[in-house]
Symmetry: C2
Subunit: 245 residues, 2 copies
């Protein structure tokens, strides 16, 4: 068998997220496995680095799989690009090291969240930004974000209430910058809990709109209770930018 690593981008708008859920719904993983099975003649199981939610996009998701020997990475790339729908595109396919595992070997992931503050979204970006329609105070958001970096228990920022495993993660950096009428948040961390980036973003938006002081973030973290944090920002503004190994 040939062990192959791919890097791909996708428009998540019409998908129920990355992960296959039995035989229901349209998922990125499901689409990849369907096309790879046609290429390989046998079922292929695809492992992804990050399980993006329904509606979340990717600029550089990473995945790996095993496929019968004669099939080379360039063949995989061109076959997938030919038969996958136009909202999924393979950027790179290469030989993976024997022990490589997309999810377990990831050392950091970078996510981006895009907010439009103007009265209407750019028409060409309309599916890829969250239309807030107001201008939050970016300095307050930056101050709030400073309390979210480092190794912390992010239980308050986890949408999975039945989470039994550790909710401790390290957020290496949160960069917030303005680009015209848009605000772009970039999160880099060693891992993110279910909805964590979207809840952090929603909470920082509330800080920016003056609904909470920046210091409130400290109290939210300490409470270890999802109810204390802000709203979950919509999926459409979120991108998995890249996965580092």
């Amino acid at each position: 068998m040939n062990h192959i690593k791919i890097v791909l981008q996708y428009d998540g708008s019409r998908y129920d997220g990355w992960q296959k859920q039995g035989n229901t719904g349209q998922t990125i993983q499901g689409k990849l496995e369907d096309v790879l099975e046609k290429l390989a003649g046998v079922p292929v199981e695809v492992r992804g680095a990050g399980r993006t939610d329904a509606g979340v996009h990717a600029l550089g998701q990473t995945a790996d799989f095993y496929i019968p020997d004669p099939i080379s990475p360039p063949e995989v790339k061109s076959y997938l690009n030919r038969y996958l729908p136009e909202d999924i595109r393979i950027l790179k396919a290469e030989q993976a090291g024997e022990r490589f595992h997309s999810r377990l070997n990831a050392v950091s992931k970078t996510y981006r969240y895009v907010i439009e503050t103007g009265e209407k979204k750019d028409v060409f970006q309309r599916k890829y930004v969250y239309g807030l329609g107001k201008r939050p105070d970016v300095e307050a958001m930056k101050q709030g974000a400073s309390f979210l970096t480092g190794e912390r228990d992010f239980k308050s920022f986890c949408a999975n209430k039945k989470m039994k495993k550790s909710t401790v993660r390290t957020v290496y950096s949160i960069d917030i910058r303005e680009e015209g009428s848009r605000i772009i948040l970039t999160f880099r961390g060693n891992g993110f809990l279910y909805h964590m980036v979207r809840i952090m973003t929603g909470t920082l938006i509330e800080v920016g709109l003056g609904k909470r002081p920046p210091e409130d973030i400290k109290r939210i973290l300490a409470a270890a209770n999802r109810e204390e944090a802000g709203f979950t920002a919509p999926a459409e503004g979120l991108f998995l930018v890249k996965v580092d190994y």
Copy 2:
């Protein structure tokens, strides 16, 4: 009455072009007039600078219209942005000079055509580029384009065979640049005939693919016959960038 000038962007994908055609089809002009009639309480006729074809996009189309007095430009902008669909966005609304006419006063128009040469389009740009899937010779395209600038009879580049008015236009510049795997052509001229930018693009692509020598453009112009020019590049890659007055 208040004379108002607007600058707008739109994703032309689901429209039958700018211009209203009786009561059939979805057009940008029709959408604007419908919403403006609701605001004004009386029918409003919108004049556009360029009649973009079905499927063609705009980054900076210009239009003007008369509306009853108490309605100000900021009100027009926010009302239109609120009630127009999400694929049409007003960037600017301002008082127009008394004699201003969007089409007749235009001194130049700029169009952009975007070609993807890679094996698959960027998923986030897929509705806004033409997927050629091959890499043409850009230097040959530039050489071919040099024969298209200046004041010339563009009859061979006009899709309207029954055109009775003059087919002489001045193309001020054609800029061709590579940006990663994309080729971007920018055309600036005092006016463009029906499908003219798309036929020039199609012909330059044929030059870039070695199907015609660059000098062939001279023969095509002299023939004054649409059959001599190349194919009409698809609408999806074309943008009306701006109109200068």
